[in-house]
């Protein structure tokens, strides 16, 4: 088990080094004249030359990469071309908001997928199953940003029962900074009003993000449950006289959970991507909104920071997913250890 974790971490670090090269290529090589993009066409040639010196743009590419990576490893992503602030400061400010949003989506996905998937599996080929299937088609057909707009419309404009924009209402002071998660900070500092308000703000955007992966994983779970219920070991356990509830809860669910959790981990990639659009719609002050603004303004330093951090997050989530799966399904140990 420890060997598996160690191997997996080492592979991850190797891939992340590759990822950093890719990001470097995107942020330094593809754009052409970085100084031109950073300072605009109206800047003087001497100002551009000064920036080139500062960013070591006149050195050969490998040297540039090593210097860039060295700075990144020390947490220095350079200054934003737009705000002129250090990118690292911006990241520190915005990242917790995105993590909070993504974490809440994860809660929705896990709870929703398992309850809907088990319902559909239990009542397969009935109207319950049919309803969940239709829901899953809705989740596939409408991208998260469309779902977000619809939720915004229904709850924000028509019923006005839910706060819709930002992390917290303008009149409410954010809780004292501990973790950067507003809900958690609110609870920790006893500021329950702020926590409650922040929680309500969290619901709609995280649900918009969660819906697609949620229904997708529910479908996967449903089909694994149905597949596995026809396996010989289920027939044997049934014949042994185990009670039906134990059969479903234990003997059927555990072997079926593996594929579902794998898909959840993979869907997480789409979720992080869609967060870029959903944060924009809900005006959520997170890293993704920061990232998309950076992209639209060609703020190269900020883009590379955001992409790298998202890459690391994605790796960590899949690392955790791998460990969970290996715990659930011992067969996977052999397959995954050799990877």
């Amino acid at each position: 088990m420890l060997r598996f974790i160690g191997k997996r971490l080492m592979m991850g670090v190797l891939v992340l080094i590759g990822t950093s090269m890719l990001i470097f290529v995107i942020a330094r090589v593809v754009p052409g004249d970085v100084a031109m993009i950073a300072l605009g066409a109206r800047a003087t040639e001497s100002a551009r030359e000064a920036l080139r010196e500062e960013l070591h743009l006149n050195d050969p590419l490998p040297v540039q990469y090593v210097i860039w990576l060295g700075n990144v490893l020390q947490g220095d992503f350079g200054n934003s071309f737009i705000t002129r602030r250090p990118v690292a400061d911006d990241v520190r400010q915005f990242f917790p908001a995105t993590l909070e949003l993504v974490f809440m989506s994860g809660v929705f996905i896990v709870l929703g997928a398992f309850s809907l998937g088990m319902l559909a599996g239990k009542y397969k080929n009935t109207w319950v199953d049919g309803l969940i299937r239709v829901l899953s088609y809705v989740g596939i057909a409408f991208p998260a940003f469309v779902v977000g707009i619809v939720l915004l419309l229904i709850f924000g404009h028509n019923f006005q029962i839910m706060p819709i924009l930002g992390r917290i209402s303008p009149g409410v002071a954010p809780p004292t900074h501990i973790t950067g998660f507003f809900v958690l900070d609110g609870i920790l500092t006893g500021n329950f009003a702020a926590a409650g308000n922040a929680f309500l703000h969290l619901l709609l955007p995280s649900f918009a993000l969660a819906l697609g992966p949620l229904v997708q994983s529910a479908r996967i779970l449903r089909s694994s449950l149905v597949d596995n219920s026809n396996k010989e070991y289920m027939s044997v356990s049934t014949a042994a006289g185990l009670p039906p509830s134990l059969l479903t809860r234990k003997y059927l669910l555990k072997p079926s959970a593996g594929p579902t959790i794998t898909v959840m981990g993979l869907d997480f990639s789409a979720l992080l991507g869609q967060a870029f659009l959903v944060e924009r719609i809900f005006n959520w002050p997170g890293l993704s909104r920061y990232g998309i603004n950076a992209m639209l303004n060609k703020d190269l330093n900020a883009i590379s920071a955001v992409v790298l951090i998202i890459g690391i997050t994605f790796f960590l989530v899949n690392f955790i997913v791998d460990i969970i799966i290996v715990f659930i399904d011992p067969r996977m140990r052999i397959g995954r250890e050799s990877v």
């Binding site: 027939s235 044997v236 356990s237 014949a239 042994a240 006289g241 185990l242 011992p330 067969r331």
Partner: protein, 348 residues
């Protein structure tokens, strides 16, 4: 002899159909059989002739959504399995019948340890107090050693994929025997085992049946195994029972052409070259032959065989054959040979 005792298991004219894309596959086509307490019964036939399907129907573990039972009854200890309530079914599975699966590689749940699976079976058999974990563990360990597996402690903590096929098969046997049941269905329990272990398992099964008036249904390919272990035998072909008799009659007086062919397929240690055997394959179950299902492969087929289904005829006490070669002529034969058969009947 059996007329006095009540059958433990009796299947009456059972049909089982599977839904397929081309229509219903009529896999079990009206079979009847009886098993009495203290009896060891063999069920022999080629792969895919409906043996396992019939036995799974007794346990009610066939996939309900693709199964159709157009007719028939399955009686176990005075109750019809097909109309049992959930509680009755649970009780039957816990104390009445146990089944050893044919496919050892897929019969154990891959994500739980052997011990956990055995313990659950013991816990829910209702025969041990749930609080007494230690006692239940002892029972599980004992079951593992009873199938000649070394180091039961280690095996308890192993996942199925860490064990060999033969070990898993023995675990399946242990799981079926770990709590006492009245009827034991063994579906080719020894296919992956060495001859020596096979022999020991057979001996164990025999003791289990004989000591407490239990019963055994042994599904097998091998007539040799049947000869060694069972009292009475049912030969199945294409979802029908073509011949049933005491095991000694099978070898002294095989009557159905399929049985004759089957016996000719058994290689003999005494030599004598290869036999002619049986041509062809098991029938297409979706569009089965209209008359006798064996007739496309039968060397003695007559016109009537292609038109009508033969019903079983008793050619001697306890010896039934479903074949038009017998029928009316059987009575004459019976009159001639009455004394011989009587001897066999008593012997079984």
């Amino acid at each position: 002899m059996e007329q006095q005792t009540k059958a433990m298991l009796s299947i009456e004219d059972l049909m089982i159909w599977y839904k397929t894309y081309r229509g219903y596959a009529k896999v079990v086509d009206g079979i009847s059989l009886e098993v009495f307490p203290g009896e060891k019964v063999g069920l022999v036939g080629e792969s895919g002739c409906g043996k396992t399907t019939t036995m799974k129907a007794i346990m009610q573990t066939l996939p309900a959504d693709i199964i159709h039972v157009p007719q028939g009854e399955i009686w176990f200890e005075g109750q019809n399995v097909l109309t049992m309530t959930k509680e009755q079914l649970l009780k039957m599975r816990r104390t009445g019948v146990s089944m050893i699966s044919q496919s050892p590689l897929s019969a154990l749940n891959p994500v739980f340890t052997v011990g956990e699976q055995l313990m659950d079976i013991i816990k829910y058999s209702g025969q041990y107090s749930k609080a007494n974990k230690k006692e239940m563990r002892e029972v599980a360990l004992e079951a593992i050693s009873s199938v000649m597996l070394p180091d039961p402690e280690r095996i308890m903590n192993s996942h199925p994929h860490q064990l060999s096929g033969g070990m898993r098969q023995r675990i399946c046997i242990a799981a079926a025997l770990v709590t006492p049941k009245h009827l034991l269905i063994a579906d080719e329990p020894c296919s992956a085992l060495d001859v020596t272990i096979q022999d020991q398992i057979h001996r164990m099964l025999r003791v289990l049946v004989e000591e407490k008036q239990r019963a055994l249904v042994m599904i097998t390919h091998s007539l040799g195994v049947a000869r060694e272990l069972v009292d009475r035998i049912f030969i199945m072909y294409g979802g029908t029972i073509v011949e049933s008799c005491y095991i000694s009659d099978l070898f002294s007086n095989p009557s159905h052409p399929y049985t004759v062919g089957l016996l000719e397929c058994v290689p003999r240690l005494t030599g004598g070259g290869l036999s002619t055997g049986i041509y062809g394959y098991v029938p297409d179950y979706i569009n089965p032959p209209k008359g006798c299902r064996f007739c496309p492969r039968c060397s003695k087929a007559m016109d009537i065989c292609r038109e009508q289904k033969p019903s079983p005829v008793e050619i001697a006490p306890g010896h039934h054959v479903a074949c038009f070669l017998y029928g009316d002529r059987a009575q004459e034969k019976e009159a001639q040979n009455k004394t011989d058969y009587k001897a066999h009947g008593e012997g079984g």
